[in-house]
């Protein structure tokens, strides 16, 4: 009861904030009344509000999934019934809200730490040896990442005496210190976003966590550090980040797409397939950097403005729909694992007859991952493709369409298993309806993003970090 009260109240607040930002544009809130260089600033623009809304939706639905899982627990409950689950759950939700609103570099360091300290205990609740080791690995990676990030913050403060991103963006000049700060902060955040070469910790962490937790991990936790990377690269470092750096990230992204998809095809366990699909889809997001930064030189100056916001909001749109779709997929996988008491692919053959709703949710989420029309993923993919062609970087367009095909490969590999007609009628556990409908609800939300294209796009355009500012940023 308390849980639902907490969830509803947060949903109401986020709704209120969404309406305000939609009507009046970005809101700036100085904490403690002290303006930015001294105090910390909270800043809600279109992108952060959209992310807040998506977080609220996912947390609410996944919360409903867990409540239903606890109520019908028959034996294995994956650690939902530990009395520390709900406090950690709401701390994680608060941390997301803190990350998406804050504009202060050191404050973001602390919120990233909080994120890790919420995620790892939730991961450990699963209790198995593998979960512990995965938690330890994730903790170590996060430690390394945040320490590099902190050194970057220290270097920035040493040079510019301010910690707020907008001010850093204005003051920043190209110097060895800034270069070191950019390298270190990017390295730290890449570790936490699990981009290709640094992704080794993600599959075991997301594969062994309880279903609802891995839905959050894959859906949101990874995105928080990517969001932060976007804020930094298009807010603070806008002036000095070179095209080469953007292309380097794009290259890593493409490798991630290929590597993640290939490994996803070789997995035996359903959750690991989805975890590697996260590794691949993260590669998609990083194509944003070459498209926007590379785009400045290559496309005609006249229509540059709308192409940049197009690529930017396209990638963000893809991120939003991926968050919803991935969460739906993990919840559906949770239902399937709950029914078959194990998520090994050869043990879920022919489950489509028993769990039509979860398999349908999985398929819908898969459609969004593949970027096929009815889904939100398509809108994101469409805009990124348009940006790629507009800035004459057609090779990124190739990577995007290849990624879509590879995603189709592993989604249908799983779906094929569930449609097979099984002669021998083996007993599956009965899965409570609430869990299945939670998965379907999230998948439908991801589909809704696809249909209602224009409204979220206008929201994303409010104070968008990609729109170039006069005299600063990558517009020479």
């Amino acid at each position: 009861m308390l849980v639902s009260a907490g969830a509803v109240s947060t949903l109401v607040c986020v709704g209120g904030l969404l309406r305000r930002v939609w009507l009046t544009g970005p809101i700036r809130h100085t904490v403690g009344g002290w303006s930015s260089p001294l105090g910390i600033e909270l800043y809600a623009d279109g992108l952060s509000t959209a992310l807040l809304a998506v977080t609220a939706v996912i947390m609410g639905t996944a919360g409903f999934y867990v409540v239903d899982a606890i109520r019908h627990k028959n034996g294995h409950t994956e650690g939902y019934d530990s009395d520390f689950f709900w406090p950690l759950w709401f701390f994680l939700w608060t941390t997301f809200n803190a990350v998406f609103l804050s504009r202060d570099v050191f404050n973001l360091y602390i919120t990233l730490e909080l994120l890790v300290l919420c995620a790892v205990p939730l991961l450990i609740l699963a209790g198995s040896g593998a979960a512990l080791i995965a938690g330890m690995r994730y903790l170590l990676v996060a430690m390394l990442g945040s320490m590099c990030y902190l050194l970057g913050v220290a270097l920035l403060y040493a040079q510019y005496d301010t910690l707020s991103i907008p001010q850093l963006g204005a003051l920043m000049v190209s110097s060895p210190g800034t270069a070191a700060a950019v390298v270190l902060m990017t390295l730290g955040l890449l570790l936490k976003t699990a981009l290709f070469p640094l992704h080794f910790w993600l599959p075991s962490a997301h594969g062994n966590a309880p279903a609802a937790v891995s839905a959050l991990l894959s859906g949101l936790v990874v995105k928080a550090s990517f969001y932060l990377l976007v804020r930094l690269w298009f807010g603070a470092f806008a002036g000095i980040v070179s095209v080469g750096a953007g292309n380097f990230l794009g290259l890593l992204g493409s490798l991630a797409i290929i590597w993640g998809s290939l490994l996803a095809l070789r997995q035996q366990r359903l959750k690991l397939v989805i975890a590697y699909s996260t590794v691949a889809q993260i590669g998609y997001f990083f194509l944003l950097f070459p498209l926007v930064i590379g785009g400045t030189q290559l496309c005609a100056p006249s229509d540059r403005v709308d192409w940049l916001t197009m690529a930017g909001s396209g990638a963000m749109y893809f991120m939003l729909s991926h968050a919803l779709a991935k969460a739906a997929m993990f919840l559906a996988a949770g239902c399937i694992a709950h029914a078959a008491a194990s998520d090994r692919l050869n043990e879920v053959i022919g489950i489509g007859r028993y769990l039509p709703v979860s398999v349908f949710a999985f398929a819908l989420a898969g459609v969004s991952l593949m970027g096929l029309p009815p889904s939100g993923g398509f809108v994101g993919k469409w805009m990124m493709l348009k940006a790629a062609f507009a800035t004459n970087q057609w090779w990124w367009a190739m990577v995007i369409s290849l990624g879509g095909l590879l995603a189709a490969a592993y989604v249908f590999m799983v779906l094929k298993q569930t449609v097979v007609f099984r002669l021998v009628d083996i007993r599956f556990y009965e899965v409570p309806r609430g869990m299945q409908w939670a998965a379907l609800l999230l998948a439908l939300f991801s589909l809704l993003l696809g249909v209602s294209g224009q409204v979220p796009l206008d929201l994303l355009a409010v104070g968008s970090p990609f729109s170039p500012r006069a005299g600063q940023g990558w517009l020479p």
Binding site: F389, A397, Q454, L457
Partner: protein
């Protein structure tokens, strides 16, 4: 927003709503499911009739929904769209009756009919699409909704066929998407308008880009239009239940590809630009090669449905041939063949399904003397076969006649040669079947499936077959009337491409 603006959307929604409702029906609610199916089909037919009558009198129907930035979802009922919508909604009505009879006792019928209705929604969406984005949205929806139907039986070879189907169609769709996006970037939001919209781009030195885009678009559509190198998925998809291969693989899915090519050539590039870009030559060559190759492979098939599948591959390329040979008569021939081939092919598939269900015949070698057992089905089969070969009374003759004349008028003599060769090949693989069925003695007793009441087989399987056979006959006989498919196509060609074509080319 008068009623006229909502009609296209309503036709789309009738099958979508029924499909979604059917999904939630339990297996045993047969009567409710049948009622829903029938209601959806009849309402759709009524709406289409209203729109047909309206378009005939110049009334335009268009629904515009904001989807994405400046490009939005446009459903417009122009003359060409009405042709395809009419065809698919009529045949959907007949195939639903057929499917209800065919799937009497099989499992998962709710799932089947749900996806079946979504497929038809996608086909209607493709037909009514007003711009390339809408076309692509429904094109993908069609791929997604046909996959569950192909793997409906869940047997290993069904899954293999489904996998192969996906690989072909999804990679085709990826090519198409790249082309569409590149076109949007180059030319901005463009709509399907008669005579094409890209002529202004030609002199701005975009020739290379336009040709590349054309190759991408036609390549993407070619997968569904079963051009020879890309046709592999069609024969293997025959493992699907008969209604699926009848409506989808003879009419809806493959026609979507051909219809797309017609749209791209006539409504996006415009016939003058395509000719000046010099792409019509290779397109015609591919079409001709597909015609010959399809027929040759059909000769060698012993399984009845696979032979019909290869015949579809070759017949489809008639449409592309008609489009590729620049000229009013060949255009009429190509576009009208879209309808004729649909009606005739669906009759053949209905007969094949009927034979399989009633007397368990799958292979042509088992068809000796089957006409004695099932005279009505075989008469329908014969009418359709004659139409395929191109004998006068049946519709097939009309389109081949126009194609031939068009080829001559455009000075492409080899076109007539290809048509003659394919007619011979068609005869080569249809006449032996007819001879075996009518004149040979059955060498073994039929293993009756117990469907025989006082009709030769279940009435729900027989009536649609006869209906489509009569349709293909009347389409041939009443070709002169304006309401017949040929008349309608001549009106399209006159209305859209300013070229009046005398009936049967006789001035």
């Amino acid at each position: 927003m008068t009623l006229h603006d909502w009609l296209p959307l309503l036709t789309l929604l009738t099958s979508l709503v029924t499909g979604l409702l059917i999904f939630f029906l339990a297996e045993q609610q047969v009567r409710l499911r049948t009622f829903l199916n029938m209601a959806g089909a009849i309402i759709k037919l009524a709406l289409v009739a209203v729109m047909l009558w309206g378009t005939f009198h110049g009334q335009s129907y268009e629904t515009r929904l904001p989807l994405l930035g400046q490009t939005d979802l446009v459903l417009r009922a122009d003359a060409l769209a009405m042709l395809f919508v009419g065809l698919s909604s009529l045949l959907w009505f007949l195939t639903t009756i057929y499917a209800i009879g065919y799937l009497e006792k099989s499992p998962h019928r709710s799932r089947f009919f749900g996806f079946f209705s979504i497929c038809v929604t996608a086909t209607v969406g493709i037909a009514l699409a007003g711009n390339l984005l809408t076309f692509f949205v429904f094109y993908e929806l069609l791929t997604l909704s046909t996959y569950p139907l192909v793997v409906h039986r869940g047997t290993p070879e069904a899954l293999r066929a489904g996998g192969r189907y996906l690989v072909y169609t999804l990679s085709g769709a990826a090519l198409l998407l790249l082309g569409v996006v590149w076109l949007y970037v180059l030319a901005g939001p463009i709509e399907f308008t008669a005579g094409g919209v890209l002529s202004h781009l030609e002199e701005e030195s975009h020739r290379a880009a336009l040709i590349a885009i054309f190759v991408l678009l036609v390549g993407g559509l070619g997968v569904k239009a079963a051009f020879v190198p890309l046709h592999g998925w069609l024969p293997s998809a025959m493992v699907a239940p008969a209604p699926v291969s009848a409506l989808l693989h003879a009419v809806a899915v493959v026609k979507a590809g051909a219809f797309g090519i017609v749209r791209v050539v006539y409504d996006i590039y415009g016939i003058k630009l395509t000719e000046s870009l010099g792409v019509t030559g290779p397109l015609a060559a591919v079409a001709a090669f597909s015609i010959i190759y399809g027929s040759l492979r059909a000769l060698m098939q012993d399984d009845l449905k696979r032979r019909l599948a290869y015949s579809t591959v070759s017949q489809l390329s008639y449409i592309t041939l008609g489009v590729a040979i620049v000229g009013p008569l060949s255009t009429v021939g190509g576009v009208v063949h879209l309808v004729h081939q649909g009606i005739m092919k669906i009759t053949l598939f209905f007969c094949a399904g009927n034979l399989a269900e009633t007397v368990g015949i799958h292979r042509i070698s088992e068809m000796d003397g089957v006409a004695k057992r099932m005279p009505w089905t075989m008469t329908a089969f014969t009418i359709a076969a004659f139409g395929m070969i191109g004998l006068p009374p049946v519709a097939g003759f009309i389109s081949k006649w126009y194609l031939g004349l068009g080829a001559l008028q455009a000075g492409q003599g080899w076109g007539v040669g290809v048509l003659l060769m394919s007619t011979l090949l068609n005869a080569g693989y249809f006449l032996p079947i007819l001879y075996a069925a009518w004149f040979k003695e059955p060498h073994a007793a039929w293993n009756e499936k117990g469907l025989k009441d006082w009709w030769e087989s279940d009435w729900r399987l027989l009536l649609p077959t006869l209906a489509t056979a009569v349709l293909s006959l009347t389409a041939g006989l009443l070709a002169g009337l304006p309401i017949s498919p040929v008349g309608w196509v001549r009106m399209i060609v006159k209305q859209d491409y300013k070229l009046w074509t005398p009936f049967l080319g006789i001035p």
